[in-house]
Structures are given as C-alpha cells and as structure tokens.
C-alpha cells in the first residue's frame, strides 16, 4: 500500500510567472537570517532578489 495516497496537501506552493512565490495553507515560515517564525496562512516571497522587504515580495520586480 502506498501510504502517501492518504496524504492531503497541507499547502499550495505557486510560482507566479515573472512574479513572487505564493504559499498558502497550513505551513510554518522560518526566516533564519531575521530569526522569525510564523504561520501566516498566505505569503508572497520575493524571487527576483530586488525586494526591499525580504523575504517578502514588494513588487520591485515590476520596476
């Protein structure tokens, strides 16, 4: 039996094209550098490297 069959997804991780990484659902976010841990439910993380509010997206990728 494949026990993974019974497993439900706890979260959805989505790559937004030319945009951030969206994560929603049951997850914990651990930001090691800034020593923060939270369970926000939904976040958008920067993927372009230009955000001034890392690790979050601040829409700098549009500039």
């Amino acid at each position: 039996m494949d026990e993974n069959k019974n497993k439900k997804p706890q979260a959805v991780v989505e790559i937004i094209e030319f945009g951030p990484l969206k994560i929603s659902g049951n997850f914990t976010l651990k930001d090691i550098k800034r020593d923060k841990e939270e369970s926000p439910g939904e976040i958008w993380l920067c993927r372009c490297g230009k955000s001034n509010n890392k690790p979050y997206c601040d829409e700098s990728h549009k500039k």
Binding site: P9, V13, E14, S39, L45, G49
Partner: protein, 170 residues
C-alpha cells in the same frame, strides 16, 4: 502524562496504542459521566484533560460509550477492526461521527509544511503540498523543493547555487 494530543477539525484527539478518542467540546452538555467514572483518564482540571495512559483501553471505551452526546467518540487505530464494530458500541465514530471514519491517517499526517528562508540563499519547502509551476500542478508528498530567491539561477524557479557566486544577500 498524555503526550499525544492533536487537533483535528472540530476538536482534539487523543491516542493510545489501540484506540483514538475524539473530543468535540462544542457538543458537550456536561453530563459528567466521563470524569465521574474514570477521573484517571478524564480530568477536567488537568491539561491536557485526557490522559490515555490512565487506564486500560477496554475501560476507556466503556466510559466513552457512556457519553450521551458525540462530544466523546472513539475508534480503533487499526481500521480493519472498525469495520466489525457493532451498534452496542454507542459512541464509536461509525455511529456518531461517520465523517471521522478512515480519517486517522489524514489526522496523523496533518503536519504543517515547513518553509525555510535560508540565509542569503533559497527558500526550502518541505512536506505535503501541491506545487503549481506555470501550467503544471504537481502533488508533492513528503518531498522537498528549493526555490531561487536571488533571481539569477539558470534553473528557474529552482535554486542552482548561483546566489553564492553573485554574493546575494537577503
């Protein structure tokens, strides 16, 4: 002391090696059978208030069956045994809370996905999640992916280690 207290939809569940007891506080009418009959297991003054090691499995089943509502229900951890349970087991989930039948694996596996933002590096995501990348949706179970945060990976959207070469900070 009770170690295995977990949340599930509508309440909490408690397990020993044989059975799982579900506690749904919203339907409790405080009839008090549980703690009058078996204070060693059901002690409202203690946290967690249910100690599954406080008595035998047989006794716990007997007392849960006394609960006049579906505030306390139970089932065997071995799903095969649940199929043969008969109606004289008044508070078995089969009769009281059919929505919980077959859900033991789901409740056990409801571990939050771990999202770690690495120092000056990628974001590492571990666990059971659906991964949407463009038009594809992949069911990742007990898996791990590493997503680029610096923007220069040649293997987008995944990290290929280039953040180190460009001196990415963030």
């Amino acid at each position: 002391m009770e170690k295995d207290e977990k949340h599930f939809s509508g309440g909490k569940r408690y397990r020993n090696k044989d059975i799982t007891v579900y506690w749904k506080p919203s339907t409790c009418i405080h009839a008090s059978y549980c703690y009058r009959e078996l204070i060693e297991v059901f002690d409202p003054s203690r946290r967690p208030w249910v100690d599954m090691e406080g008595s035998t499995t047989e006794k716990i089943i007997e007392v849960v069956n006394l609960c006049p509502t579906d505030a306390l229900t139970w089932k065997y951890n071995d799903e095969a045994l649940n199929e043969d349970v008969r109606a004289d087991q008044y508070n078995h989930v089969k009769f009281r809370r059919p929505e919980l039948i077959g859900s033991i694996n789901d409740t056990v596996e409801e571990t939050p996905v771990s999202v770690k933002v690495m120092i000056d590096g990628p974001v590492v995501i571990k666990g059971d999640f659906d991964f949407i990348n463009g038009t594809t949706r992949k069911e990742v179970r007990d898996g791990m992916i590493s997503i680029c945060r610096c923007g220069v990976s040649d293997h987008q959207p995944f990290c290929d280690g280039r953040h180190r070469k460009i001196g990415f900070t963030g």
